[in-house]
Amino acid sequence: MGRAAIIDGNMGGGFTQSSWQQWRTKYGGWTIIIVSCLLPVIMWCFEDPGITNRFLTVSLTMAAIGKVTGMVGFVLYAISLVLSLRRAWLEQLFDGLNKVYLAHHITGGISLVFLMFHPLFLAIRFITFEAPESIKAAADSLLPHWFSASDTATSVQDILALDAGIVAFLGMVVLLIVTLYVKLPYHVWLWTHRFLGVAFGLAAVHTIFLNSDVTRMPVLWWYMIAWSLIGMGAYIYRTLIGNVVIRQAPYQVREVVHLGGNTVMIDMVPMGKPIHYKPGQFVFLTFLVTGESGISEREAHPFSIASSPYEPSVRLCVKALGDFTRALDNLPKGSVAQIEGAFGHFSNTNFPGLKQIWVGGGIGVTPFLSMARSLDHTTAGIHFFYSVMKREELFDQALLQDYLPRTLAGQFAYHPYVTSEQSGFLDAQYIAETVGDDLGEYEIFICGPPIMMKTLRAQLRARGVKNSTIHTEEFSML
């Protein structure tokens, strides 16, 4: 069996995306998000007393804004939980897991904004300048309530649901402030992030059980119940029972090689059924047994694969950037890890038969090493720019400088770029002059520091390169 056949059979490579698939991966996910948010608003508009009666006065308008932001914010909250799932079908909708996580961040952030507006507008609707004391009613609506002896079952339910909403709101605000603005060690951050699911559960109680416009319209009510279940289901699946139900492949560390530049290469062999992956993809790695190395166990971290899918082992290149990656320097042989994946749409195999430019910066070279090791004679032609700060940071030179240019003569051109020996950073002009062709004819892959990817994309676009032909792997989002 030839190598190309293995690509087609094993990894789904060698296909051409249909226009529907292209549309789905580019816009599918966001279309679903927008429609999901608009649906409850449309239903609510048709609910008695009708859209025209909801904006008759300033007070009613404030109430309407408060209700709409509450519904949309809740749906976005549920969606952000769904987007925290690492599932292949999400990658199909968002063009890779990194973009799924980007959507997770955006929906979570916008949800927070909407849910901040929700109580504010519902409170200020009470305020009228003709009756200044009405601000007390507004303040009262923002505070939790206690039961009294005269409360009926209905009012007890309302009080409980209102208080659940207030606690959920405060919890969400505190947790997202921690998430967005406080620099915590990864494991502490992860621990706090898990409580967002609890806040969502309370928000769901608030949404479903508080007598409101939602409960008055059965279709709307069931719609919100559905999102409550979807959101809670996603949270339970990912966070509470993920270790049990999500398939992870056990691997054992065979070798740890220090590559220089604070980088180690971890070589691992499967202890059972191996994972399947495309060149350029990444995995989530969770160490189970690491001896006395001090490496945090039971913490999943994303890493790009440097090996080719045709090799029996999986190799990961890791640069010491955080606490966890620094500790990997001491990783002992024989350590056991679980691998979940692979993920990502950053692969040359998605564009077979097309000329490609690869730009790797620093540790961002890793997915290109995987792609390079998987190349065969069907390759259409590749220019590989490998940018580092110092010459000693270049690795795998035997493969890149000698083996591939020799075996794939005329199809693989290697261009190392050592910044300290040049007058500046690698830029689009250098790439264009080196390639000597119209850059618009190439699919361009870039992986490296975020600022490098952002700058190069802007420079390439300024030279008329279409945005859709520029592919980046956003490591910062993982």
Binding site: D48, P49, N53, R54, L56, T57, S59, L60, A63, H105, I106, G109, L112, V113, M116, F117, P119, L120, A123, I124, R125, F126, I127, T128, F129, E130, A131, P132, E133, S134, I135, K136, A137, A138, A139, D140, S141, L142, L143, S148, S150, D151, T152, T154, S155, D158, V173, I177, L180, Y181, L210, N211, S212, D213, R216
Partner: protein, 254 residues
């Protein structure tokens, strides 16, 4: 600008607004609230159309009374002249002359509002103020014999705007629903969509155009169910219905 910076800005603004509402609502006195409101409305106090009598019991027409934050009333004649100040007596009228200048403040029902009634009515400026009826600081050497005062009938304990049974009857349908509780009139058509139990519960035929006090206390059922409410709601305290107060109700008013 990054998304997280935009979110931070919105969080600070919305969080600050909520905190302001909570603090002002918790600590500001009614007088301070009136002052805060006046900064937005541009009025020192809420003007009210009232009937003002001079010490002889004559009506001072087109006079406007402002309730000041310090508890006094300022009487302004139709041409804008400040005529006198009298201590307020809870906004209600006294049938006999009182106060340092002998001026009596008596409320007069304001005209019924058309579509969106407000709790307070506005003053109607006079084009030809009757100077003879405006009390002056210079006392008369020989006071003329005063006619016997003709006290205007007082409804709603002098609170305005005041509505009677005829007014209420005009709002007795579910599409135009007013109802009163312990002398306070509410526009339930505006409020209904906010009621936690639903629009149908509020716009019920045994509520519109009627006394809702027994509905609020739970002794009268609506749509087959009785609904208990907090004492604040039962006694017209601050609640979701407060902003839909349209005035006062007096069954004696024609």
């Amino acid at each position: 600008m990054k998304l997280k910076h935009v979110i931070a800005g919105i969080m600070i603004v919305t969080g600050g607004a909520m905190l302001a509402v909570l603090l002002i609502g918790a600590f500001a006195s009614p007088a301070q609230l009136a002052q805060i409101a006046s900064r937005f409305t541009g009025q020192a106090a809420t003007p009210t159309v009232q009937t003002v009598y001079d010490e002889d019991g004559n009506v001072i027409e087109n006079a406007t009374v402002k309730h000041n934050a310090d508890g006094t009333n300022t009487v302004i004649t139709g041409d804008g002249t400040v005529a006198t100040q009298v201590p307020t007596s809870n906004g209600a009228a006294s049938p006999t002359p009182s106060g340092p200048s002998g001026t009596t403040v008596t409320t007069k029902p304001a005209p019924a509002p058309s579509t969106t009634p407000r709790p307070s009515a506005t003053a109607v400026p006079s084009t030809t103020p009757k100077s003879s009826q405006v009390p002056t600081p210079t006392p008369s050497a020989t006071p003329k014999p005063s006619p016997s005062p003709v006290p205007a009938p007082t409804y709603c304990s002098g609170n305005t705007p005041c509505y009677g049974a005829a007014d209420l009857a005009g709002h007795a349908s579910t599409s135009n629903c007013w109802s009163y509780n312990k002398g306070v009139m509410f526009n339930l058509s505006g409020y209904a969509s906010r009621h936690p139990a639903g629009t149908d519960t509020v716009l019920a035929t045994n509520t519109c155009g009627r006394d809702m006090s027994t509905v609020l206390s739970g002794s009268t059922k609506v749509n087959g169910r009785s609904h208990n409410h907090s004492s604040s709601v039962e006694n017209n305290g601050s609640n979701g219905m407060s902003s839909f107060k349209v005035g006062y109700y007096d069954s004696a008013k024609p």
